[in-house]
């Protein structure tokens, strides 16, 4: 019964949408240890209601900044996350500074272009968890420390 309930989730075709605006770069500094760190305020708005099925317990979402450096082709830094417990709360708008520190391994962030991706994990009441993301590109950091 649980297997069939989980399989029925595959019948759901989600159509989520999201938008992230960077309202402000609060500060951008080089830490004593030598790593770059930036603090930013984001406007996150999303409509994730279509992700929910009768077999959904909650949806976990997080925003990650992705960029490339000389050493690594992909760096991912998680900036913010939330748990959406019900379908009614899945259409939202929030303004928040980054929950988790946006720190680099090194001093590569000046003038860096980066993507912000909104990832989601649809956690079921029983069975398989589905995960996907929306990639939003076109963001960049200032050339000099603030």
């Amino acid at each position: 019964m649980c297997v069939i309930a989980s399989l029925s989730d595959n019948l759901n075709i989600p159509s989520p949408s999201a938008e992230i605006q960077i309202m402000n770069i609060n500060w951008f500094q080089k830490q004593p240890k030598g790593s770059d760190e930036v603090s930013l305020t984001m406007n996150i708005s999303a409509d994730l209601q279509s992700l929910f099925t009768w077999n959904t317990k909650q949806v976990f979402i997080f925003v990650a900044a992705e960029y490339e450096t000389r050493k690594n082709s992909l760096n991912q830094v998680s900036l913010w996350d939330a748990i959406i417990p019900a379908k009614e709360r899945a259409k939202f708008w929030i303004r928040s500074s980054n929950k988790y520190r946006f720190v680099d391994h090194g001093k590569n962030l000046r003038g860096k272009e980066f993507n912000l991706t909104l990832h989601w994990h649809v956690m079921p009441k029983t069975g398989k968890m589905f995960a996907d993301k929306i990639v939003m590109s076109g963001y960049s950091l200032p050339e000099e420390y603030i």
Partner: protein, 124 residues
Amino acid sequence: MSYFTQNSLLSFLGYPVSLQTFLPLSAPSLHFTMDWQGQKLAEQIMQIMLLVFAVTAFVAGYVLGSFQMMVLVYAGGVTLTGLITIPNWPFFNRHPLNWLDPSEAEKHPKPQVTVSSKKKGFKK
């Protein structure tokens, strides 16, 4: 649960209980049992009912969009199935076995097992 209450409950459910602590040995005891055919029937009823309730529960839950409804319907189904298949209802005892009366058995002594000299490690 006191021994007496436990005894009463078990005998009500059909388990042969010993009442020798409370009643003399000559007191009658009630035996509700299932015969072999009845056991097979109970098994079949259980399989079919649980399957039907599982399907019904899933359909109910899916259509109503409620996981809780699926669980509740199935739980109700399991309880109903239990009420029908677990107790030793009379319709499970329609082909009872007629055991030989003890007095009759004494008239026909059991054949003796002859121990051959080839067997080794014979217990008794």
